[in-house]
């Protein structure tokens, strides 16, 4: 499946206006930039994901990366899903003083769109931290499955069917 570039809109919090942005695959050059832009993506070591399917969200007008997401495509028929393995919004866009909103939403909606496109029927999963479970549900509509084992205490969260479509409608329909 060819990796794609998708136009999206994010919201400038100061003005409330929608701004053109793009989601596209991360290049090797981007990994250097991510490493050098100390402080903006400081939560995870993205260089460990170089060989994986990683996307960035940037403004259409410039190259500044505002969000990153790693997807894993589970193509075997029994799983048939896209897993969001990692996602990070740039530090200046987290919290009350963020410059742009909808970055995380657009990235997760993009994962849903890829899931439909690749024949996974919109099925998207992530492994939550226990403290974030209710917020993933409230914010993005993820459904929680508590199937705990000693090695996997937090269960799984999934989007599927109309929940995935809702997210695509909310974040990608303005594009």
């Amino acid at each position: 499946m060819a990796k794609v570039k998708l136009g999206v809109k994010i919201r400038e919090t100061g003005t409330g206006s929608l701004v053109d942005a793009v989601i596209e695959p991360v290049t090797l050059k981007d990994y250097k930039i991510i490493k050098q832009s100390t402080g903006r993506f400081n939560k995870f070591d993205w260089s460990l994901y170089k060989k994986k399917e990683v996307y960035k969200l940037r403004l259409k007008a410039n190259t500044t990366i505002l969000g990153l997401m790693c997807l894993i495509d589970h193509t075997d028929p029994d799983t048939n899903a896209i897993e969001i393995a990692l996602l990070e919004v740039s530090v200046e866009n987290i919290g009350n003083n963020k410059q742009y909103d909808y970055i995380g939403g657009c990235l997760i909606a993009f994962a849903c769109r890829e899931s439909f496109k690749r024949g996974h029927e919109g099925f998207v999963s992530l492994v939550p931290k226990s403290s974030l479970i209710e917020h993933y549900t409230q914010h993005y509509g993820f459904e929680y499955f508590p199937m705990q084992t000693p090695s996997r205490p937090c269960g799984l969260m999934v989007l599927y069917d109309h929940l995935a479509r809702n997210l695509i409608m909310k974040y990608l329909s303005a594009s």
Partner: protein, 175 residues
């Protein structure tokens, strides 16, 4: 990279869920546990899926594939108008004859369009928009047709040359 506890101190859980997906289990055994749980959920969801939901997923897949092809600058000889029209009909589980009746088109004409022996008329494209309840807008079909014609023009000089005898006069210089 910041330890997870530091990240959690700096932001509220609501802010984190909107902007971050932490990595799931990393060691092989935990990951296998997670994937087998994911398969169980997937199986359950598949069993609950309605026929309508399956159809919507298939049509969304087609729509997103068409959108991506239109957003891609590259031309592909296999992705022509008739191919996408056939996919639309097949996903609806209709016979060509039945579909031709539904949009009031001669079945032979429909077959010729699908098999690339003739191009669709504007009326057929407008009817496709109406048939799909505007989920596949006419503009999308026109743009697919435009890409098909662009490919044909680039790869078949005889399309233009066949009109040579009708041109009585031509410019004598090149720009």
């Amino acid at each position: 990279m910041k330890p997870q506890k530091d990240i959690e101190k700096k932001h509220t859980n609501k802010e984190l869920a909107a902007s971050i997906v932490f990595p799931g289990p990393q060691n092989l055994r935990d990951r296998e546990d997670m994937l087998s749980a994911l398969k169980e959920i997937r199986k359950r969801k598949k069993q609950e899926q309605t026929d309508d939901s399956k159809l919507i997923a298939q049509l969304l897949q087609l729509k997103f594939l068409m959108e991506d092809y239109l957003n891609d600058k590259a031309l592909n000889q296999h992705l022509y108008f008739g191919y996408f029209l056939k996919e639309y009909i097949v996903r609806l589980e209709k016979k060509y004859k039945q579909f031709a009746e539904e949009i009031d088109v001669n079945p032979t004409e429909l077959s010729q369009i699908i098999n690339r022996h003739r191009n669709p008329t504007d009326k057929i494209i407008y009817r496709l928009e109406i048939h799909s309840n505007r989920n596949f807008p006419a503009i999308m079909w026109f743009r697919i047709l435009e890409k098909q014609r662009e490919y044909e023009l680039m790869h078949d000089a005889s399309i233009v040359n066949s009109e040579k005898s009708h041109v009585k006069k031509q410019l004598s210089f090149s720009l």
